[in-house]
Amino acid sequence: MTNDTPTLGDYEAVADVDFDLDSEELDRDAINAELERLFNS
């Protein structure tokens, strides 16, 4: 990905990790929304 808002999946890819997020309190959408907010702040 180039010059787009990063997502959790991008971070997982470059770091070669896979965050297992099955928590009801926390999901990928919440993290991606925060990443977008910070990236564009």
Partner: protein
């Protein structure tokens, strides 16, 4: 009147002397000039690395050698003077910290800047007690800065090209910890590598 004439005459003599000396050849010149070199702390070095301008800059601490350090622990020296007692992230939550620190080109030429890694993780695999993820976020979505982000695996870094003298880039942090038992079971103690190379 007589004194004034004398002064003018002395000036003329000095000028004549200077011209006469200048026409002579020389074989060597030895001169001494001052050299001043200082080693600066991170905030004022040619590659400036310093806390964010706002209150969130208090999440950044310094090491014993005045180097910048992200410190989201109870050891942050700003606790009590900027940080009101917090000692870590919430579990079962996403924490976003904008304007955490910034990197500024305070040198003379364009550089390519690399920051690595972008993602940090820890997991308690033995007891399945917790997962902690920390992601660095460059705040380049809203600024007019020429950059080139590369997310190509397996290189866990951001590359920003053409960071001109005076340009700066702010960094934020997004982090999450799950589940509740992540408290005191996972932690991160690592380093960020910041590289600037002339273009």
């Amino acid at each position: 009147m007589e004194r004034r004439k004398f002064v003018l005459s002395a000036g003329a003599l000095a000028a004549s002397g200077g011209i006469a000396l200048g026409t002579g050849a020389f074989s060597t010149v030895e001169a001494e000039r001052d050299v001043g070199v200082a080693v600066s702390d991170d905030s004022s070095a040619y590659l400036g690395i310093e806390p964010g301008d706002g209150p969130n800059g208090n999440y950044v601490d310094t090491t014993d050698s005045d180097a910048l350090a992200i410190n989201l622990t109870g050891d942050n020296d700003n606790i009590g003077s900027g940080l009101a007692g917090g000692e870590g992230l919430n579990a079962n939550a996403v924490t976003g910290i904008a304007d955490l620190f910034k990197i500024q080109n305070q040198g003379t030429q364009e550089v390519q800047l690399e920051v690595a890694p972008l993602a940090f993780a820890d997991a308690d695999f033995a007891n399945f007690d917790g997962v902690l993820g920390v992601l660095l976020v460059p705040q380049i979505g809203g600024v007019a800065l020429d950059y080139d982000m590369s997310w190509t695996p397996p290189v866990n870094l951001i590359s920003l090209s053409e960071l001109s003298p005076g340009d700066e880039i702010d960094f934020s942090l997004a982090a999450f910890a799950i589940p509740e038992s992540a408290v005191d079971s996972v932690e991160i103690s690592d380093e960020i590598e910041i590289t600037a190379e002339e273009l």
